[in-house]
Symmetry: C2
Subunit: 320 residues, 2 copies
C-alpha cells in the first residue's frame, strides 16, 4: 500500500496540489483501513495485487475526509503536526481533498478491471460508503451541543459514520476474493458492530492525552461533539437540571471560549454518573457481537476468524 | 433534468444535508451543462432518458464545485443571493458538496447500466474531468497575484479548468448515443476551444456589473485571479515598471483591502494597453476554431452543427 501510494502520488509536480498531497499522505497515518482490506483479501485467498487498488482508494478517501473534517472541526493538529488547512490554507486543502476523491474513484474502476459485475459492485460499495459516511458526518455536526441529543441519535451517527466506513475494505476484499455479493455483505454487519466499538474507544481516548492533537484533553467536549458519553449523560436520571444546563452550555459554546476547568468538570461529571463505565461496557458488547458474527461466517477459514478476533480486540485496546 | 433533480434530491429529510442541498440546487442556476449534454445526445439520436443520469451527474458535480469555489474565493454572493457557506456555515457546505459528489458518481454508474465498456468509458470520462478540473482550480489559486504569471500559464488553467469541464457532457452524450470512443473524444477538442472562449467571456464580464455577485465590479481583480487580461497586461511591452508593480500589488493584496478606485485604475490600464481588445479577439478566434471543428465532424448531421454554432455564439454573446 505504502509503495503504491508513493509511486503513484509523489513527485507528480502539480502546482497547487503536489505539496499539499505529499504533506497529507506523508503525515504518518496508520494505513489501518487499506491494511485491513489487504489482510482480509489475502485471508480469503486473493492475490494481494488484486485488491491493492481498492485498498489504496479507501486510504485516499480516508485522507480526503480527514482534511475536510479538520477544516469542519477547526482542528489545528493531527498526528502530532499542523493539519493541512493550517499549513497551506483552506483553498489548497479543499483542492487536495477533491484530487484524492477523484483518484480514489479512478482506482475503484481499476480494481474492477474488465469484470463488469465485479466492477459495478465495487463502485456501488464505494459510492454508497462515501454517501453514508458524509450523512454520518453531517449528523455529527447537526447534533453538536444540542440538548435533545439521544442515545438513538448517537447510534445513527456511528452506524453511518464509522460502521460502513470501517467495513468497506472488508466487503470489497471479500468481493475481490471471489465471494458472492451476499456473502461479502455479511461484513457490513460486522462493521456495524466493530465500527461503533472503535468509535466508542475514540470517544474514551479523547478524555486522555494520547490522541496526538497537540496534547489537548477533551477536544470533543470543546467542540461539542455528540459522543456516547454526552448521550448517556443527557439520558441519565441522576443528572440534575443545573448539571444538564451547564453540560449543554459547555458543549454548545465555541471551543475557544471553553476553559480547561470546564472540561475537567464535564469529565468528573461523566465519572460520577458512571457513563464512562456504560461506554466501556457498550464497547465490549459490540466487540463480542462482532467477533461472534465473524465466527459464524461459514466461508471464512477458522484461523482467519481467530485473527479477526485478535484484531478487533487490538482496536479497542489501543492507546492512540 | 430539473424534474429528475427535484424528484431525487428534494425532501430526502437528511439532517444536516437536506436544507443545504435544497438551498444549493434551488439557487436558480442555468442548468447549462446538463442541457448541453441532453441536447447533443438527442441530436445524435439517443433517447433523452438514456443520457439523463449522466447529465444530472454533471450538474451535481458542477454544484459541488460552485460550493467549494465560493469557500475558496471567499465569495459571499452568487446568483444574487448568499452563497451556501455564508448561509449555513463552511462545515455544512462541505458536507453538501461531498454528498453531491457521491451522488454524481452513483448516477454515472446508472448511466452506464449493464453495458460494461460503456460504463467503464463514462466512469473514466467523468473521473478524468473531475481530476483535471481540480488541477485547473489549483493552478488558478497558485497563480493568484503572482508577477511571473504568463499567457501560457493562463492557457493551461483554462484548458484544465474550463475546457474539459464544458466538454464532458458532450463526450458522454456522444458515447451514450452509441458513437465509438474515438468519435466521442473529438468533443474534447471542441471543448478546448469553446471552454476558453466561454472563460474569456467570463473574465470580460467580471469588469461589468452583470454577474449577479451583489453588483460588485472587478471581483477577479480584488481576488487576484489570473485572468486573460492580467496575463496579457503583464506580457505587454508598454507596461512600465511602476504600473507593473502597482498591478501586481493590487492583485496580490487581500480582497477586503482593495479600494474601488484601485479596481478602476486596473480597468483603465487594461483599456489603455488594449488588452481588452486582445481578449475579445482571442475569444472570437477560439469560437471560430471550435465551430469549424464541429462542422468537420463527419458523424454530426448538418443541422446539429449549425445549432452548435449558434449555441457557441450565444455563449460568447451572453450578458451574464
Amino acid at each position: 500500500v505504502e509503495r503504491r501510494i508513493r509511486n503513484e502520488f509523489y513527485g507528480l509536480n502539480l502546482k497547487g496540489i503536489s505539496p499539499g498531497l505529499e504533506y497529507q499522505l506523508g503525515s504518518g497515518g496508520k494505513r489501518l483501513r487499506p491494511a485491513l482490506c489487504q489482510w482480509l483479501a489475502t485471508g480469503l485467498g486473493a492475490e494481494p495485487s488484486t485488491s491493492l487498488p481498492f485498498a489504496v482508494a479507501i486510504e485516499l478517501l480516508h485522507n480526503a475526509f480527514l482534511i475536510q473534517d479538520d477544516i469542519e472541526d477547526g482542528d489545528r493538529f493531527r498526528r502530532g503536526r499542523a493539519t493541512l488547512w493550517v499549513e497551506q490554507g483552506i483553498p489548497t486543502a479543499l483542492n487536495v481533498a477533491d484530487f484524492l476523491i477523484a483518484e480514489a474513484f479512478r482506482l475503484v474502476a481499476e480494481a474492477g478491471a474488465e469484470n463488469g459485475p465485479l466492477s459495478r459492485d465495487l463502485h456501488e460499495i464505494f459510492t454508497q460508503t462515501f454517501r453514508t459516511t458524509v450523512e454520518g458526518q453531517a449528523l455529527d455536526l447537526y447534533w453538536r451541543g444540542r440538548s435533545s441529543f439521544t442515545v438513538e441519535a448517537y447510534e445513527e451517527i456511528i452506524r453511518k459514520k464509522t460502521g460502513r466506513y470501517l467495513a468497506v475494505g472488508w466487503v470489497g476484499a471479500a468481493r475481490l476474493a471471489g465471494r458472492e455479493r451476499a456473502e461479502a455483505n455479511a461484513f457490513w454487519e460486522i462493521g456495524d458492530e466493530l465500527g461503533p466499538a472503535f468509535q466508542i474507544k475514540d470517544d474514551l481516548l479523547d478524555l486522555t492525552d494520547g490522541k496526538g492533537r497537540g496534547g489537548e484533553v477533551g477536544c470533543d467536549i470543546r467542540e461539542g461533539k455528540p459522543s456516547i458519553l454526552y448521550a448517556h449523560a443527557l439520558a441519565h436520571p441522576g443528572l440534575d437540571s443545573g448539571q444538564r444546563a451547564r453540560l449543554v452550555e459547555i458543549h454548545a459554546r465555541d471551543r475557544e471560549k471553553t476553559e480547561p476547568q470546564e472540561v475537567a468538570w464535564v469529565i468528573a461529571l461523566y465519572d460520577e454518573l458512571g457513563v464512562l463505565e456504560v461506554a466501556r461496557r457498550e464497547m465490549r458488547k459490540r466487540l463480542d457481537h462482532g467477533v461472534r458474527k465473524i465466527e459464524s461466517l461459514a466461508f471464512a477459514p477458522p484461523p482467519l476468524a481467530r485473527q479477526f478476533g485478535e484484531l478487533a480486540q487490538f482496536l479497542v485496546d489501543r492507546k492512540v
